[in-house]
Symmetry: C2
Subunit: 441 residues, 2 copies
């Protein structure tokens, strides 16, 4: 039996801005004990490589690794896992992978150059990273979809080598996760996890080659380790709990909307599900649906807690006001369950992913629609993007001055350099100014 309740708010109320602040309040707890434990693990792995990785893995994951070879899986072992899984799951993974690949190929950026009138060429060269590492959680929250979503953009970007780490607590590995790694084209898998796996990827060991970027979700030890190695390597954003914001005109089946809210709530007790609607009766109907449907869920306890603690049904004046509230929240997932939803797109300023129309369940985006399911949480959609191919490419500026270009630009640069008191800068530019060049001949 769930003691279910859900918060009701009214955007027309004068207290609403403060109510909304309180509803959204969530802060990642920086845990001093976790941080010092992680700092020690990072130091040990940096100093002792594989030996430290083996020791921590045996201790934390109850393994019996003798040497580094024991935590390595090659592509043949991934292919074997793919053979073992049921055909239906195999087909579904392949379909999802193909759609994710198709979508992400449109994100590929290309190098460009242009030539100015005086012959000077400017441009931008775009290149993939050499090697990236994907962290995949093990145990109960082991998600094959996460493997696809993290590895495929790296592959599409042209990354030379994609490594994956996934812990195998008590020697348990999920065949679906390994099968997804096979399909996504992961090159090597290491069955290690926690801060020790992040350290191995960031610093390199005798067996694990150092990577340029680490992506993928993990527990507080993983998040803390990623934050600590940031700068040494690139990382993706540190994710907060998942959230969904649904805007509905009140004419979608309330059971559909309730189940969309529950699909976030079942992730995690801290997940947040919010509905905005101008129709008070519809909010009542969704509340009833939630109560009815919650009881039918295997993960009822988690979902019920999430809905009660962090959920809300919010009455708004109209869809425009709903979008104003959505822009204030900058949600990870935004569902716009109305007729002709595309008309609202220009008004939507901040959201990780936008699901338009009554048929677009958020869950489709989690698995197989094509766009990435790694999305900015906790309002960070104000300044962050979904994981994408652009996360695995980087740019180099190109400057190729003609003698005439160097003459023009050298004079400007020298004036500005002198203004900044940087004499060598000025003179380095002035050497290439035409009168200087002639003077030298």
């Amino acid at each position: 039996m769930s003691d279910f309740s859900i918060r009701r708010l009214d955007a027309g109320n004068s207290e609403f801005p403060q109510d909304l602040e309180r509803l959204l309040a969530w802060e990642s707890v920086a845990d001093q004990q976790v941080e010092s434990a992680v700092a020690e693990i990072l130091r040990e792995v940096k100093a002792h490589g594989d030996a430290a990785v083996i020791e921590y893995t045996n201790r934390f994951d109850r393994r019996d690794l003798k040497n580094a070879g024991d935590f390595c899986l090659d592509r043949a072992e991934l292919a074997a896992a793919l053979e073992r899984i049921p055909a239906e799951k195999h087909v579904a993974l392949e379909t999802a992978a193909r759609r994710v690949r198709d979508y992400h190929e449109r994100q590929l950026q290309s190098s460009w150059q242009y030539r100015e009138a005086d012959g000077t060429v400017l441009g931008q060269q775009i290149t993939p990273m050499e090697r990236v590492g994907i962290y995949v959680p093990g145990g109960k929250a082991s998600y094959p979809s996460s493997v696809l979503m993290n590895a495929i953009p790296a592959r599409v970007a042209g990354v030379d080598e994609v490594l994956m780490v996934v812990p195998a607590p008590d020697n348990q590995l999920n065949d679906l996760v390994l099968a997804a790694a096979a399909i996504a084209g992961v090159d090597r898998v290491f069955t290690i996890g926690g801060a020790q796996a992040v350290a191995a990827l960031a610093y390199g060991t005798e067996t694990v080659t150092r990577v340029d970027k680490i992506v993928g979700p993990g527990n507080i030890f993983v998040a803390s380790a990623k934050r600590a190695v940031f700068g040494q390597v690139a990382i993706d954003m540190i994710a907060g709990p998942s959230e969904i914001l649904v805007i509905c005109d009140g004419r979608t089946d309330p059971d559909w909307i309730a189940m969309d809210l529950l699909s976030q709530a079942e992730h995690d007790e801290q997940a947040q599900s919010i509905l905005l609607c101008p129709d008070e009766q519809f909010l009542d109907a969704v509340a009833s649906s939630l109560q009815k449907l919650l009881k039918t869920l295997p993960r009822e306890a988690i979902a019920s807690r999430s809905i009660s603690d962090r959920g809300a049904l919010i009455l708004v004046r109209d869809i425009e006001q709903a979008i104003e509230v959505a822009n204030r929240i900058a949600p990870e997932h935004l569902e716009v369950s109305v007729d002709e939803p595309e008309q609202y797109l220009p008004l939507i300023r901040h959201a990780g992913a936008i699901f338009l129309g009554r048929y677009t369940a958020e869950a489709l985006g989690d698995y197989c629609a094509g766009p990435n399911h790694v999305l900015p949480t906790s309002g960070t959609a104000r300044f962050s993007s979904p994981l994408g191919v652009y996360d695995f490419q980087k740019r180099s500026s190109i400057i190729y001055c003609s003698p005439r270009g160097a003459d023009t630009l050298g004079r400007v640069a020298a004036t500005l350099a002198k203004g900044e008191g940087l004499d060598a800068h000025a003179r380095s530019a002035e050497y290439r100014v035409a009168s200087e060049v002639e003077g030298q001949d």
Copy 2:
């Protein structure tokens, strides 16, 4: 008199890989005392807003601020500074700004969509951030070029409001910096600095509106504060000392190459200048030029120390080997001072900016060529890009399923969701599967 010397290495030597490691070794010192001082400043500004900002500013910058209005400059005051500076500097700043703007406009990304055969629409919506903050150092290292390089990409991206903070120690402000802010289109300037300015931008105060991203260089307090607020807001990379790597075939004037090396060395004692060349006599000639030119520099002491401590002249077999070494180093600035340099572009994998040909002094890129001078340092060009318009835009995925699309995708999503034990996800997708829809009618 400088006690000048420069390290000589040979890439053909079997010890070279280790020599190179030692040459590049540089670690930012994480200073525990600085970090706790910064943590306290952040807490105080978060709790007490303007009052805390005023107190710290009066204390650290020897100011006499009475209220928040005393640290605000509006656009009229920026315009007045622009009137005060010499005409030659005004023209040079305008020229640089125009070229930087022209180049960065080519980085603008656009939203895209595509429709699949069953009517499902997928896409990516690109929007600018709402508000960003630019940190500009005050005092001796006060650089107008940095204002242009940080503010113009934000403006080109379409950011609504660009704020700038610049400390005014002893009430001293640099007119060139304010003039550059006027030209770059900065909206509001606050004459505050240090961790208290970063805190004001990250959390907001009564006077300083909270921003979405903080960019720009600063001292260890600023860098430490940026690292601490990362996640709450976006930040640019934490920069290390500046570096230049020059590849030369030995046929550029050795004085030119020496001055290019010195133009990095004069920045900072920790700056790094390296030359790779297959001609040993040319390395000798550059060493002589360095010795000769150093004595003529106002910043001789700094440059001499940088060259002696961190510089190197490296003999290579040929230009191809030089590029291999460059890719290993992933330099911030890479000069390729050879004939037909464009032929080497496809071989260059990691570099912040690439300067091609004998006429392209690196200093041109610092001021006015067009590309950004905020570049990845300390080998982070392996995974980072120059500051650009893309740093001020973000993406939202778009998914709009047709009923037929929802039917196809719903089946795949449900299969995968069940494999992950996420029942509400599966059922939310299945509600939109056609047989279910028909069943409901």
